[in-house]
């Protein structure tokens, strides 16, 4: 336990020294808080129509900081709602893929042999499928609800995680403290949950951080095409799609949600890279 405390403290110090990663973390925190609290503080609801101000540009009408869309709905409120939906789905889907991927990989890597080969064969087959296209089939079959999106994206998201965790677990299994636990009479379940999984945390955190933006991109991609989140519910993807339709006369409708999406994706990627550098001391 002592060694681990030291590792985490070192990692934290390394992360704190990385200015880009810290700035990304700060921006993400701000955006998450804004997405949760913002809509409560602003004067308009996301589906509220302001008949007096339709398609007004940013900073021109009282109360509409980022302007309104064609129907007079406040763009700031809708973007914050979209951010909330996109981030919410992304984080939940990442959690789903974390849970499946970590347990799958840890069990396969720990049991080895035939079970491992069989479990990884399943991962290989699913990996070879064109994932986005199967997510599309799933949304066609089960309807375009946030829940379908969540399950469909989560159903494929765990594959890489399972591979990473299995590789780590195979290596960890050979370590002395695991042997000591076996000698001490600990069962498989206890060794996997108490010894293998805690030691996998580093790579898992890094990969999870990098999974969130990927899920945001897939969800927005589908919502952009009209197959994902549906109106009147906002998501960054369907806001961008709306903006793309109106861009000739109302370019802010495209630029506001698009920059929001790009900012989030950039920040998560920078944070993930920073975490990787911080948690993997071999590079230093």
């Amino acid at each position: 336990m002592n060694g681990r405390g030291g590792l985490w403290r070192d990692a934290l110090l390394r992360l704190a020294a990385n200015r880009v990663a810290c700035a990304s973390l700060a921006i993400l925190m701000l955006m998450i808080v804004a997405a949760i609290v913002g809509p409560l503080l602003l004067d308009y609801r996301q589906d509220e129509i302001d008949w007096a101000h339709m398609a007004v540009p940013p900073l021109t009408a009282e109360g509409h900081w980022l302007g309104t869309d064609r129907l007079g709905r406040d763009l700031l409120v809708r973007t914050l709602h979209g951010l909330r939906v996109s981030m919410g789905i992304a984080m939940l889907a990442t959690l789903v893929s974390l849970a499946i991927g970590v347990s799958w990989g840890a069990v396969a890597g720990y049991l080895r042999g035939r079970t491992d080969a069989l479990m990884m064969r399943v991962v290989d087959v699913l990996y070879a499928l064109p994932q986005v296209f199967f997510v599309i089939i799933l949304t066609v079959v089960f309807g375009r609800s946030p829940a379908t999106l969540l399950v469909a994206i989560g159903a494929f998201g765990w594959l890489t995680m399972a591979r990473i965790v299995r590789g780590q677990a195979l290596a960890l299994r050979e370590r002395e403290f695991v042997e000591a636990a076996i000698v001490g009479g600990a069962g498989t379940a206890r060794i996997v949950t108490r010894h293998i999984i805690p030691n996998l945390l580093g790579p898992v955190i890094v990969y999870a951080t990098l999974t969130v933006p990927q899920v945001i991109l897939v969800e927005s991609f589908l919502s952009f095409l009209g197959i994902g989140i549906q109106e009147p519910l906002a998501s960054l993807g369907n806001l961008i799609a709306d903006g793309a339709v109106e861009m000739e006369t109302a370019s802010w409708m495209l630029l506001v949600p698009a920059s929001c999406l790009v900012l989030v994706v950039f920040c998560f990627n920078f944070l993930g890279d920073g975490l990787r550098d911080a948690l993997d001391p071999r590079d230093h």
Binding site: L129, P130, I137, V140, G226, L254, A258
Partner: protein, 310 residues
């Protein structure tokens, strides 16, 4: 080498089988039938329709007939575009998608690899930083943001290119779609080429070539580049996948009558046979092109080429 080719070819078959089976099973799991519309159909008409589409048969027989059809290139009728078969829709869309896809890959190779080489040769200098920052942007900004943005700038603000549309023989229509599809691939290729070339240039055998007094240009072109471009070849498989996925957005936003737009339309209409057929064709394309990239890699890498059994 031959054994390797045979093994890879055989390996692609189960993957395709899984794709076909899974898409068939998933679409049959769907709640409600394809003819559940807002206005209920008369029972006789409904029964006739279901008989016409084989839907009154047991699922196993439906699957058998679908498979038999696939082997003859028959993807069945479209549920929503009643005048067309899925095969006709694929045949009309495939050339469009392949044209823009191939053009995008060629453009990406023509720009991405030289940009990566240039950046590697000027490591840490201004050119390198510029290329790499652009590459990060190209990778992080998704196609569905780039596409409307380029249409806004070049189509609406500058009026250089048409915003959308497809008229045979008007190459201007293709510029924005192809550039949009190529941008992320250019970015990846530039980054990959740069990293790989820098690594190769540090290798002992390059130092040996320098020590023998070979001209820098000859070292780069004859010794370093062939080795450095190997990982780039293996990236072409994923690049094809990225371009094909991106074509859904690009065809939708620029109004091109390709497979991607048919797929999106099919998904919006819940046209199961159309979606299934398109997904199978897309998957087969990805597997085939990925395989081609892997085989090219194996052939280019002497370590694999000369291996008898692998």
């Amino acid at each position: 080498m031959l054994a390797y080719v045979a093994r890879r070819l055989l390996g692609a078959i189960p993957t395709l089988a899984v794709i076909v089976t899974l898409s068939f099973v998933l679409t049959r799991l769907a709640p409600g039938g394809p003819f559940d519309e807002e206005q209920a159909l008369a029972p006789e008409i409904r029964a006739n329709l279901e008989a016409a589409y084989d839907l009154d048969q047991p699922v196993a027989i439906q699957f058998g007939r679908y498979l038999a059809g696939l082997l003859h290139g028959d993807f069945g009728p479209s549920y929503k575009f009643r005048d067309f078969t899925v095969t006709e829709l694929i045949a009309s869309g495939l050339p469009v998608s392949l044209t823009i896809g191939a053009a995008a890959i060629i453009l990406a190779i023509a720009l991405g690899i030289p940009a990566g080489i240039w950046a590697a040769l000027r490591q840490h200098r201004l050119a390198d930083r510029m290329v790499m920052s652009l590459a990060v942007a190209g990778i992080s900004v998704p196609v569905f943001v780039v596409a409307p943005f380029l249409a806004l700038v070049f189509g609406i603000w500058l009026r250089w290119l048409p915003v959308a549309g497809w008229t045979a023989g008007r190459p201007g229509d293709l510029v924005l779609p192809v550039v949009t599809l190529a941008l992320p691939v250019i970015a990846y290729l530039a980054r990959l080429t740069r990293g790989s070339l820098l690594e190769v240039l540090r290798a002992p055998w390059i130092r040996a070539a320098r020590a023998r007094g070979l001209a820098p240009r000859r070292i780069l072109l004859a010794h370093a580049l062939p080795a450095a471009l190997l990982p780039v070849v293996s990236f072409l498989g994923p690049a094809v996948a990225a371009v094909l996925t991106g074509s859904l957005v690009v065809e939708t936003i620029f109004g091109l009558p390709g497979m991607g737009r048919h797929l999106v339309q099919g998904a919006l209409n819940r046209d199961y046979t159309l979606v299934m057929g398109m997904v199978i064709v897309y998957a087969a394309l990805m597997i085939a092109l990925n395989l081609a990239a892997d085989l090219a890699y194996a052939w280019l890498d002497p370590r694999i080429r000369r291996e008898r059994r692998l």
